[in-house]
């Protein structure tokens, strides 16, 4: 049992935003498969169909996607969130996004009746015009939005950061100043793929974000730096495919980990990672997870 921003998790594996998170039923399914907590798809103020397909491809060494934040909007998602809360038996985090602090607050308040255990603010999706990283690369905007949501609700607020910035720590500090209870790093890294047979960019949106194995070293460095600079917990995400990857992220400074693309391997990923972590902790004689969080910082 671990506690993060006051929420109790049976294990430190959390479903990442945007992965099987559009319906209450699929969130519940992931919880039953062993996730310690679940994060919904990012929900916004208006329904969005997202970008046209192809919206995701497997690169072999990672994935490239540009979903375009498809979501039914908060009025419609309220009930899905309620289903997740009712049936999942694990903490449920609502990921939300908007273009302005007012929109963020509107969405948060619109979902609050479904009793999410926390909000995760997606200020980091790299491929939604006017949304996401355009907001998340500006420390002032991040601080303002975080503060607005923190003021409006009294559940924990996590802020999800983009790595597509010169200095992720500055953004993390802005979130902390705004009152964030935790930061989540990282969202996908801007990237693209081109079909050489036709010259067309492969994604319907032309470019998108890289996730999976390829981004793990980048995520580790971001988590490492954020852990160093911030007082609030860091939740690590990006490229976790095995329990070893999760331990690495925790040693960099993550209090818990989120798993996204690795769901591709199968939903057993959550139980296999959490079991692996547990065995590692006990085999090596550590007293608990907390003993290895950020341990890399002490190894000099």
């Amino acid at each position: 049992m671990i506690s993060i921003t006051g929420i109790e998790l049976e294990n430190p594996t959390i479903l990442a935003a945007g992965i099987m998170g559009t319906t209450g039923a699929s969130l519940v399914r992931v919880a039953k498969e062993g996730a310690g907590a679940i994060v919904s798809k990012s929900i916004g103020p208006e329904p969005k169909d997202g970008h046209s397909n192809p919206s995701m491809i497997d690169l072999g060494y990672g994935f490239l996607n540009a979903m375009g934040l498809p979501n039914p909007s908060y009025p419609d998602f309220k009930d899905e969130l309620a289903v997740a809360k009712r049936e999942a038996d694990v903490p449920v985090v609502a990921s939300i996004f908007g273009g302005t602090e007012e929109e963020f607050v509107e969405v948060a308040l619109g979902l609050i009746d479904s009793n999410p255990d926390a909000f995760e603010l997606n200020v980091s999706c790299p491929h939604a015009l006017g949304y996401g990283a355009s907001v998340g690369s500006n420390p002032d905007a991040v601080e303002t939005i975080t503060k607005a949501v923190c003021d409006a609700v009294d559940i924990p607020v996590w802020v999800k950061l983009t790595p597509n910035v010169t200095d992720i720590v500055a953004i993390g500090e802005a979130a902390q100043r705004g009152g964030a209870d935790a930061v989540v790093a990282i969202n996908t890294i801007k990237g693209m793929a081109i079909d050489i047979n036709s010259g067309y960019p492969v994604l319907g949106n032309r470019f998108g974000g890289v996730s999976g194995a390829a981004v793990k070293p980048v995520a580790l460095k971001c988590v490492y730096d954020l852990y160093n600079a911030l007082e609030i917990p860091v939740i690590g995400v990006g490229g976790i495919n095995t329990w070893e990857d999760a331990i690495e992220m925790i040693m960099a400074g993550a209090s818990a980990v989120q798993i996204g693309s690795a769901v591709y391997q199968g939903l057993e990923i959550f139980s296999s990672v959490s079991t692996g972590i547990e065995i590692f902790i006990s085999d090596r004689g550590y007293k608990g997870l907390s003993e290895i969080i950020g341990i890399a910082h002490e190894r000099i």
């Binding site: 992965i19 397909n53 919206s55 039914p72 079909d195 996204g260 591709y264």
Partner: protein, 259 residues
Amino acid sequence: MYPTDVRITKIIKETPSTRTFVFDRSFEEAIPGQFVMVWIRGVDEIPMTLSGSNSITVQRVGDATEKMFILEEGDRLGIRGPYGRGFTLPEIEEKILLIAGGVGAAPLSPLAEYASSAGICMNTILGARNTSELLFVDHFTSCGELHITTDDGSSHRCGFVTDVLADIDVSAYDRIYTCGPEMMMKCVHGMLEREDTLEKAEFSLHRYFKCGIGVCGACCMDREGLRVCKDGPVFSGIQLRDSEFGIYMRGPSGIKKPF
């Protein structure tokens, strides 16, 4: 992987609303019922069942399929796949029933081909709006009986495939496979449930796909959160019990659309 570039070697006008596109790349490893994501460059990428190891059979319904209908032999498509769970192949000694409605004949066609080449005893109920829309008639006659219905009675029996099914003793079959409009499949499902033969039956479903590889969750069905692209598109009758099947599906945004 990046989409595989394929060249269209042949276009067959099956019916006024459906065409088969044959390409120069054969997906021999594909199991009947599996699908591919078909990229019409600059337009969209859409899921299509393989109607043969190197072909898809497309019904014109909207933007992307419209664009496909102006393609010519020699044109190219991008293909990802095959993906998903196909049909459970019948054993040699099993007796099987296929129930196909409209373009639902597409996924059942390679299954029929498999069955006939394996010498499996197979009967088919094939339905369409009218005579001219009947698909793959000869694929299903190569062995076993074929019952044809048309909604408008323009030939054969007038009515729906379910009318034929009602006259059939389903207990005589070891496996029942069906694909067609969801309301048709829902009726079939109900009838088989009443006959207590759901566990023998498999249904090939459609939902809105984005990733096609089981990650994004766009295609998840209530109440079990089954991913049609990964856990399906073929499901057993049992899996579909108490599900959204026949009640609603979701659009690209995740908003429910009742049938």
